[in-house]
């Protein structure tokens, strides 16, 4: 273990800004991608359901 304290860990030997920006950007991009997929999936399913329900109505009528 090379970190004496939490603040030492976050400082990253003076390179904290660069290191944490990199990791944070990666985490944000991945989270954003997963979230966007989640919403895309929900939208696709809603549309599909609407089309399907509309379709059954037509055949019933």
């Amino acid at each position: 273990m090379q970190w004496g304290s939490a603040s030492e860990f976050f400082a990253m030997g003076g390179y904290g800004l660069y290191v944490w920006t990199s990791f944070l950007a990666t985490a944000l991009c991945m989270a954003w991608e997963v979230l966007a997929l989640w919403r895309r999936r929900a939208a696709a399913r809603a549309e599909q359901r609407a089309a399907l329900l509309g379709g059954t109505d037509e055949t019933a009528a």
């Binding site: 090379q2 290191v19 990199s22 950007a25 895309r40 999936r41 696709a44 359901r49 089309a51």
Partner: protein, 249 residues
């Protein structure tokens, strides 16, 4: 053969759905392990100090960006050769994730370059070819979105993806050549220090984690693409027509 059975979208859709949680779980576990090793086990680099820890996201992102482009081109080529819908859908699903990793590789590369070389950007062969790779991902995706006819969009972007596969290595070597000619930058990417085994281990674990993440995300996206394109609700394991089944997920 089992693969021919799953090459039909109807069979692949539920299979992908079952596989996603596994790949996602492995990705999360490996990321936790990799980050722990990267931050707490791997020693401080004696030349670069703590800034080198950026490679635990930078190198995996850069590798995935190139690997995913090749995989996308292979799917595109298979799609062209066998005229298989699923292959084109896979190629379509890979592009955004590949572009994201290319962007991340460039961003984290700049974050690493600033403290290491004193410049956010140098016209090094790797950086330049990564930038061109981003343009090619953009080209593949923009070509697809500008063509309304799905069949033509599939095949046109496949041709461009395949042409791009020839282009990237040529650019890599041409920029390397160009740099030796100019000798202006005089920065070599090769770090003189030998990597400690734990550093390498953490990097490899993060790479596998990113790989598993990519598979999970791409499978999820290809399922979306299938639903959007074909809207065949009977594919799903649960009948999507039932509102409660949709809400429950």
């Amino acid at each position: 053969m089992i693969w021919s059975k799953y090459s039909a979208p109807q069979a692949f859709y539920p299979l992908a759905g079952r596989l996603i949680p596994w790949f996602a779980a492995v990705a999360v576990i490996l990321m936790v392990v990799g980050l722990y090793m990267g931050f707490f086990v791997a020693p401080t680099d004696f030349q670069q100090g703590e800034s080198y820890r950026i490679i635990f996201v930078h190198v995996p992102a850069a590798w995935m960006s190139m690997f995913l482009y090749v995989v996308m081109a292979i799917w595109a080529g298979v799609g062209m050769g066998l005229n298989a819908r699923l292959s084109f859908m896979m190629a379509q699903a890979i592009a955004p994730t590949g572009a994201m990793f290319t962007f991340l590789a460039l961003l984290t590369g700049a974050m690493w370059g600033k403290p290491t070389w004193g410049a956010w950007w140098v016209w090094d062969a790797r950086l330049t070819s990564e930038l061109i790779l981003l343009f090619q991902y953009a080209g593949v995706m923009l070509l697809r979105t500008s063509i309304d006819d799905v069949r033509r969009a599939d095949r046109s972007s496949a041709v461009f993806a395949l042409v791009g596969v020839v282009n990237v290595p040529i650019i890599y070597y041409s920029v390397q050549w160009w740099n030796t000619l100019h000798q202006g930058a005089s920065v070599s990417m090769a770090t003189g220090s030998k990597m400690a085994a734990t550093m390498l281990m953490a990097m490899l674990i993060m790479t596998i984690a990113f790989w598993m993440y990519s598979i999970a995300v791409i499978l999820a996206r290809v399922r979306c693409v299938m639903v959007e394109r074909e809207s065949l609700p009977t594919w799903d394991e649960k009948p999507a027509a039932m509102p409660e089944a949709v809400e429950a997920r």
